[in-house]
């Protein structure tokens, strides 16, 4: 016999979903402002922030360089030959630099950073939850936000723009070598095109985007880490959820920031 309630029960319920959304948004926002409070009042260990920054940059740098290098190569490969054939060789350097510095540099770095650093942060904090280390911290009257979130937030805030700078440079140089080897464009043509299409404010705005993505990755990863439940399985689920959420938010904020910054 058909029972509508049986089928309705299996559908996503709008009210619990909305509640979960607002809980998540509220929780991450509160955590962010709590961390900002500790940063502004200088109540954190700079040595731990530096250690985290070095760790996260070293962990993410090879993947960032590889992805950005190949991205620069492929943009140049796709545009160089047809641009030369149609007499537009003066746009090749500009198209690589324009796309990289304003969009692909920060975006790809953000995605890679979410996958590498974000996963590492969530897995580490999740493991600390399931082994009672977070409760141990609280039992001593220490704030987990101050001890664990602030150094990671600062590390991501500093690390993302640095990685993006490397990514921009590698992508533009990758594009240059591909244009040079594949379409035989002179260095002068390529670099003057770069100069003509972008200026320093584009680079600055790209770094601003990167900093925002760094904050997103840090807060989402820490929040998911603290919410971990269960054992190893729970850590795995939290890590996956953190990476997926961070990547979606990076894309969404990239659109919003492009809309605001480059209009």
């Amino acid at each position: 016999m058909f029972r509508a309630s049986t089928y309705l029960r299996d559908l996503p319920q709008p009210l619990p979903m909305a509640r979960r959304f607002f809980e998540y948004a509220g929780g991450t926002t509160l955590m962010f402002f709590d961390a900002v409070r500790y940063i502004v009042t200088l109540r954190f260990r700079p040595s731990e922030a530096m250690r985290q920054t070095a760790f996260l940059i070293v962990e993410s740098l090879p993947i960032v360089l590889l992805t950005s290098g190949f991205t620069g190569l492929v943009i140049s490969l796709e545009t160089a030959v047809s641009a030369v054939q149609n007499g537009f060789s003066f746009v090749i350097g500009g198209s690589v630099a324009y796309g990289t510095v304003r969009e692909l540099g920060p975006l790809l770095t953000g995605i890679v950073f979410a996958g590498r650093a974000g996963a590492a942060i969530t897995a580490q904090l999740g493991s600390m939850v399931v082994t009672e280390q977070i409760e141990a911290l609280q039992s001593f009257g220490a704030s987990p936000t101050k001890v664990l979130v602030v150094p990671r937030l600062l590390a991501c805030l500093i690390g993302m723009p640095m990685l993006t700078t490397f990514a921009d440079i590698i992508a533009v140089y990758g594009g240059y070598y591909m244009a040079l080897l594949h379409a035989h464009i002179s260095a002068n043509t390529y670099w003057s095109s770069v100069n003509r299409f972008i200026d320093f404010t584009d680079f600055e705005k790209g770094l601003l985007k990167a900093a925002v993505f760094g904050i997103i990755v840090a807060i989402v990863a820490c929040y998911e880490g603290f919410r971990t439940q269960g054992g190893a399985d729970g850590v795995g689920r939290a890590t996956t959820h953190a990476v997926v959420t961070a990547i979606i938010l990076v894309f969404a904020f990239n659109f919003a920031l492009s809309f605001v910054l480059f209009r």
Binding site: T131, E132, E135, S143
Partner: protein
């Protein structure tokens, strides 16, 4: 400690000189699961009170309530005369600074060395110089018989050594109240004796109010001034150790004898 299991409940003022911590009519449930039900107990100042009970009875939850890591659904948790239920994080942290907590699984920070673990409460809450912190950490490690492990990582230590490092971290700032969660669980008899002696040594040296959760009865008798039994979410017996052994409560007697036959459902 009052001998009646509910003596602490409704007492005019738990902040007497004799009582450091008082649970008053505490209820705690997670959804439909009732963990504690009208649980009342006073913990005498400067004494070792051990809470015994079946596995999963809610003993460790009592320690977390005392530390403010869990909030009761109903009732009061009074620490040094202050009800900590619903308290904001900042004043609660001030109370926690006077507590040490030795966790069941040690809960050492695995990314920090033994020295950094033990010195953590000092760096967080004091303005001692590096030399002073080094001295106090060395003293704490010496007092638990582990003077030479300061530079090692927790993963390089045995389970018993990790427990003792956890004790060192709990006592390094000489707290007024120390909470021990199953300190001998999972250890061999020799290491159990070492841990028992360590707790006795800490009690002799610092005279804290110690709240211990365990069910290894020889160790319970060796360290306890008072014993309380938690059963089905409530304290069914609480008495000085010598009196507790003579309890006429059939549930207590069955537990102490470790018998399968009796009122405790298996």
């Amino acid at each position: 400690m009052k001998t009646s299991p509910t003596a602490g409940a409704g007492s005019a003022d738990a902040a007497t000189a004799d009582v450091a911590v008082s649970l008053q009519h505490v209820n705690l449930s997670y959804g439909p699961k009732i963990v504690l039900s009208d649980c009342s107990l006073d913990f005498a100042r400067g004494k070792v009170t051990t809470v015994i009970g079946l596995s999963g009875a809610g003993k460790s939850t009592i320690l977390r309530l005392v530390n403010g890591l869990r909030q009761p659904t109903h009732g009061r948790v009074v620490v040094n005369g202050v009800d900590i239920v619903g308290m904001n994080e900042r004043p609660l942290n001030e109370i926690r600074k006077k507590m040490g907590f030795a966790f069941q699984a040690s809960a050492l920070f695995d990314s920090l060395s033994v020295f950094d673990n033990v010195s953590f409460p000092l760096y967080e809450h004091t303005k001692f110089s590096r030399e002073e912190i080094r001295k106090r950490v060395d003293e704490a490690l010496h007092s638990i018989g582990l003077s030479d492990v300061a530079d090692r990582m927790p993963a390089e230590l045995s389970g018993g050594m990790q427990k003792r490092v956890g004790f060192a971290r709990a006592i390094v700032n000489e707290p007024e109240i120390i909470l021990f969660d199953e300190p001998t669980t999972g250890l061999d008899p020799i290491m159990t004796n070492v841990i028992t002696d360590t707790i006795k040594g800490i009690q002799t040296r610092l005279r804290p109010t110690s709240i211990v959760v365990m069910h290894d009865m020889p160790s319970v008798y060796a360290i306890s001034d008072n014993i309380a039994m938690l059963f089905e979410g409530t304290i069914i017996e609480a008495a000085p150790a010598t009196e507790f052994r003579r309890s006429k409560n059939p549930i207590v007697q069955q537990f102490l004898e470790g018998s399968e036959v009796g009122p405790i459902p298996l």
